[in-house]
């Protein structure tokens, strides 16, 4: 099989301005991936499927990943003009101070596609796409028209992560019921609190049950006070 660099070059020759990036995988598996731009991803996907040498006609796995907003605190050196009184004279001097700055790196939702070739029997070629953010700009192009196997898997990602796939023929919730509001696979999902009764040795469950009981009691007392 072609190396990832060669695939990247081939994509760029076939789809001008595709803007493909190689994402390195530092682990021992060394399965590196290609990051596509949502704008050109559909064309790239069609090329990968139809190219005679690559013939990636089998889309095996579609995965959603949630990367929440990350707060990064870093130390930066800043130069500032400070007014000081030196020897009785007021002066403005430049001073370098260290400051801790908090920066929020915006999170995003990522979709990962694992491609194989059933004719050439090679793979995997891994594609990834990112949404702009996690709240309102969550649209990505659907790969279902290129590979049918994405149909249910993309619906699952829509259901559990809330990625909206443009061009999907039938985008509905698949695992949770219609009318359910949350996206439970997101990292900041709050699960319903129904740990009513847990005499268990399982610490995590016991802690949740205690929290639930405390909340119930507080609510009851509040009700009694009124």
């Amino acid at each position: 099989m072609k190396t990832l660099e060669e695939i990247k070059a081939a994509i760029e020759a076939a789809v001008p301005g595709a803007g493909v990036e190689i994402v390195q995988n530092p682990g021992p598996a060394a399965q590196h991936s290609l990051r596509l731009q949502p704008g050109s991803a559909f064309e790239v996907a069609k090329f990968l499927r139809d190219d005679a040498e690559l013939a990636l006609n089998f889309l095996s796995n579609v995965t959603g990943v949630d990367w929440p907003d990350k707060e990064i605190s870093e130390k930066v050196k800043v130069t500032r003009a400070v007014t000081k009184t030196v020897d009785g004279v007021e002066q403005t001097v430049e001073e370098t101070v260290e400051e801790t700055r908090k920066r929020v790196e915006p999170g995003y939702l990522e979709v990962v596609y694992h491609l194989f070739s059933m004719t050439q029997k090679h793979g995997p070629v891994i594609l990834r796409m990112r949404t702009e953010n996690r709240s309102d700009k969550v649209e990505l192009p659907s790969m279902t028209p290129v590979w049918r196997s994405a149909e249910f898997q993309e619906r699952e990602i829509f259901d559990l992560y809330g990625v909206v796939f443009r061009g999907h023929p039938d985008l509905r919730r698949i695992l949770m019921w219609e009318g359910f509001k949350d996206h439970p696979m997101r990292r900041d999902y709050v699960e319903p609190d129904d740990y009513d009764y847990e005499p268990t040795a399982h610490d995590a469950v016991l802690a949740k049950a205690k929290a639930h009981q405390a909340a119930q009691q507080a609510a009851a007392e509040k009700g009694a006070a009124q």
Binding site: L175, M176, W177, G179, F180, K181, D182, P184, Y189, E191, P192, D194, Y195, D196, Y197, P199, H202, A204, V205, K208
Partner: protein, 204 residues
């Protein structure tokens, strides 16, 4: 009226068989409990194995798995009840005719089991319907299901047909329908049927 046990044995030796209506009635009921053909998850495979040649549930008069709740007497909750499935389980239970019994098979049906912390997993089916026998295990072995079944038979045998503790189907005041929970925006509503299930008190 109960028969004096010794007299009964003595008469039996002479070839005279005496019984009470209640005993006869319960004897008949206990040996023809028809389970509903209803499987939920992994435990259902063990339930099917129990009906197959090696374990042979038919020995206890329960071989006829009825696909329709209308014809079944017993529901084996064999596996994880998810929140999406729970309304259907309650509805199926409502559709069964009295007398009806429920065996909660496996850790999941009892409490959510290994999947307890899942957002879509009901933490025990007894929050919505009354359960007669619980069997722990993940999955319970077929022998355990047989044991549960024998326990249920004993329970049926011990039911008296009159008086305060008569079974539900002979008590016209007892509830016949159980509220079906509605899937809500974040969870099932209500999270438990307070008429069926109250939070147990833990005594340490």
């Amino acid at each position: 009226m109960a028969v004096d046990q010794e007299l009964k044995i003595e008469l039996g030796k002479q070839g005279v068989f005496v019984t009470t209506l209640q005993e006869l009635y319960n004897w008949g009921r206990r040996n023809s409990v028809w389970p509903m053909n209803f499987g939920l998850a992994c435990c259902a495979i063990e339930m099917i194995a129990t009906t197959m040649a090696r374990y042979d549930l038919a020995r206890f008069g329960a071989e006829v798995f009825r696909p329709s709740p209308r014809q079944a007497d017993m529901m084996i909750i064999s596996g994880t009840v998810t929140k999406k499935m729970a309304p259907q389980v309650v509805r199926l239970y409502n559709q069964m005719a009295e007398p009806r019994y429920v065996i909660a098979m496996g850790a999941c049906a009892i409490s959510g089991g290994p999947f307890k912390q899942g957002y879509n997993v009901l933490k025990g089916i007894d929050r919505y319907i009354p359960v007669d026998v619980h069997i722990p295990g993940c999955p319970p072995r077929p022998e355990a299901l047989l044991e549960a079944f024998i326990t249920l038979q004993k329970k049926i045998d011990g039911q008296s047909l009159t008086g305060e503790d008569r079974p539900r189907f002979l008590n016209s005041e007892a509830p016949g329908e159980f509220a079906v929970p509605e899937p809500g925006e974040h969870d099932l509503e209500p999270a438990a049927n307070k008429n069926v299930w109250t939070v147990p008190v833990v005594i340490r």
